[in-house]
């Protein structure tokens, strides 16, 4: 069986590398021939072309993420029209059915952000910065929007780059110039979360400022264990890679398919759970 996965995140993105690890694990477990593909940057135009390329190979199943239904819709509909079973994952839960996908595995970025926002508000936050390392990446922008919706208080988006030194300096600058900030929300664990923890320590406000982040890295989880950070949001994205492949493999073999969408998260990893997760995170499974 040939199953193709086309995702919008890159293989070297910490989050997506875990998805890919899930894909690889499923390939091993099912014996299917699975390829993971993604554009080099967040590029919807190129991604739709990659889906077209996948459809041309007439695989037995296609897994896609759908961060932009308008841009990817026609390509996905073409796949469905060509008779290829499609499962969507990660983003696109709202449009998945409409475009003809069998089901959706994952959780909406917006929902996850909202849950995190609510939790941080509950922890006493009222004034937050949402640190976005890739402004314009709709999937990430949605996280901040969801966070703002759930948080309720003042939320300022802080645009940064992928460079930890720059992220740390900017967070320090933000904290220095606005002493009211009491919450830092990062959109990536190693790119933003870890430098955020360091920045809060450097300005001497460890304990006063809650730090949380999307996704996980072993180092950030260690900070959670040590009490320097509040929590990490786990979408269990390993499942987003693993399950669709398994479903499609079973579908191709026996015609079996679950009846509804599978929510893979959100799952807030706080200090009590972080300890167990570190090892798995260091292996790229969580």
């Amino acid at each position: 069986q040939d199953i193709l996965v086309v995702a919008h995140g890159q293989a070297n993105d910490p989050f997506w590398s875990v998805v890919k690890n899930g894909v690889d694990a499923a390939a091993k477990d099912t014996g299917a021939n699975v390829e993971f593909r993604s554009p080099e940057t967040f590029d919807m135009v190129q991604m739709s072309q990659m889906i077209d390329a996948a459809v041309n190979q007439e695989p037995d199943g296609l897994v896609v993420s759908i961060p932009d239904a308008d841009a990817l819709g026609p390509s996905i509909e073409r796949a469905v029209a060509a008779g290829i079973p499609v499962i969507s994952m990660n983003s696109g839960s709202d449009v998945s059915k409409k475009l003809g996908a069998l089901l959706h595995v994952g959780q909406d970025e917006f929902t996850a952000g909202k849950a995190a926002g609510a939790k941080l508000a509950e922890m006493g936050g009222s004034n937050a910065i949402c640190v976005n390392q890739e402004v314009g990446n709709v999937a990430l922008d949605l996280r901040c929007e969801g966070f703002a919706a759930g948080f309720g208080g003042t939320v300022e988006v802080l645009p940064t780059s992928n460079d930890p030194a720059e992220v740390e300096a900017k967070i320090r600058a933000a904290l220095d110039s606005n002493p009211d900030i009491d919450t830092v929300m990062g959109l990536g664990a190693s790119t933003v979360g870890e430098p955020a923890v360091a920045a809060v320590e450097a300005v001497g406000r460890a304990g006063d400022v809650n730090v949380a982040t999307f996704d996980m890295s072993a180092s950030f989880l260690q900070s959670v264990v040590d009490g320097k950070a509040a929590f990490a949001i786990d979408q269990q994205q390993f499942l987003q890679g693993y399950l669709p492949v398994v479903f499609l493999a079973l579908n191709a073999k026996y015609g079996l398919i679950p009846g509804g969408d599978v929510p893979s998260g959100p799952n807030l990893i706080t200090a009590d759970k972080a300890g167990q997760v570190i090892e798995l995170s260091a292996q790229g499974i969580r």
Binding site: A11, A53, A71, A81, A82, V138
Partner: protein, 369 residues
């Protein structure tokens, strides 16, 4: 003074030159060896679907989108300047166009010319600052890279009320008579007929695998031919080479270097606007990351195609082949079974091998050393 008129007919100071050597000497054909090598590579390693009609159309589509930018970038590079803002210009022109059609509900016959005029204005602003200040265009257009990208973000949020994605373009323009020139597939009637008669592949369902010829490929061809014509067969082409080769010498010889350079900036920006219009109409939406790093890829394609970064040398056809190589490699790897983790290693390796091969072939054939 009529000495040795006969000598010019057959000159003993010339060796015979093979046809291949004469071909390879032309910068516009230099990249052809690379295309052949890449094709052979994928013939050997990729799924055969890649070289079916639908596969070719599939990899030529991104190649064409990149190629339109690359030809603009190549002309500008030959003229001795860079434009790093074209990627951001794709995003901003896309926003401008989408806002015009969706938010303001303008028909394409107004929205499209307005987008081009706007892009040309931005391009001439770039050019004007470069010429006036004497600063390197690298740094001036870099500033516009940031400014336009930032304005796209701000503009999108304004137009949508907070989101960084503007949707609904397809619905807004669907019925416009100009739409078929900038989106979708050309000759779809022909392709449907071919499919019905079994002349081209179809899916199991009977629909043709290729519903038509994507318009961007047609634009790409037209622009490549036009640019080549301008470069090789018009006075302006001569001025472009001269302006890039040595602006001082060109000015001293009476070439209007400033006008040429500003026009080139405008052309490049219009190429970006064209790509923006095509992709926005194709995708039906636009977002703040559109065109990200495309300036870079366009320059890569132009350089693969034989343009010199220092200006004064290169060709539009070269950029055409350069974009084709780049598009083939990027999409082609999707058809192979290499692990995605190795994607960038392969991409880099393929590019390097393609240009090295190219170079080696040219040196061998033309006897240069």
């Amino acid at each position: 003074m009529s000495d040795s008129a006969s000598q010019s007919a057959v000159d003993e100071r010339l060796k015979n030159e093979s046809f291949g050597a004469r071909l390879m000497k032309r910068p516009e054909l230099g990249a052809i060896a690379g295309v052949i090598l890449v094709t052979i590579f994928f013939l050997a390693t990729a799924d055969p679907a890649m070289f079916t009609l639908s596969g070719v159309v599939n990899f030529m589509t991104p190649a064409a989108q990149l190629g339109i930018l690359a030809i603009g970038a190549a002309l500008l590079m030959i003229g001795g300047e860079f434009d790093l803002s074209i990627g951001s210009m794709v995003a901003f022109a896309g926003l401008f166009f989408a806002a015009a059609t969706v938010t303001m509900g303008l028909p394409l016959s107004i929205a499209i010319p307005a987008t081009f005029v706007f892009a040309a204005l931005m391009g001439s602003l770039n050019g004007f600052i470069v010429i006036r200040s004497g600063l390197p265009s690298f740094i001036v257009t870099l500033a516009f890279l940031f400014i336009l990208r930032g304005l796209s973000l701000v503009g999108l949020k304004l137009a949508t009320g907070g989101s960084t994605q503007l949707r609904g373009v397809r619905e807004a323009v669907e019925d416009d008579w100009l739409a078929p020139f900038f989106s979708g597939d050309a000759f779809s009637g022909l392709f449907a007929w071919l499919a019905k008669n079994g002349l081209i592949e179809t899916f199991k369902s009977g629909t043709p695998k290729v519903p038509g010829f994507p318009v961007e490929i047609i634009w790409f061809l037209i622009i490549a031919i036009l640019a080549t014509w301008v470069l090789l067969r018009t006075p302006v082409g001569n001025w472009i080479f001269a302006a890039g080769g040595d602006p001082n010498a060109a000015t001293n010889s009476g070439v209007p270097v400033r006008k040429v350079k500003i026009s080139l900036f405008m052309v490049t920006a219009c190429c970006a606007a064209l790509v923006a219009i095509i992709t926005v109409m194709d995708a039906g939406s636009t977002d703040a990351r559109r065109g990200f790093q495309k300036e870079f890829e366009a320059i890569i394609a132009a350089v693969i195609g034989g343009c010199l970064l220092t200006g004064g040398y290169g060709s539009a056809i070269g950029a055409f082949f350069g974009a084709t190589i780049f598009g083939m490699v990027v999409i082609g790897l999707t058809y192979t079974s290499f692990d995605q983790d190795w994607f960038q290693v392969f991409l880099g390796g393929m590019l390097l091998i393609a240009v090295l091969f190219n170079n080696a072939i040219r040196k061998r054939v033309t006897g240069e050393r």
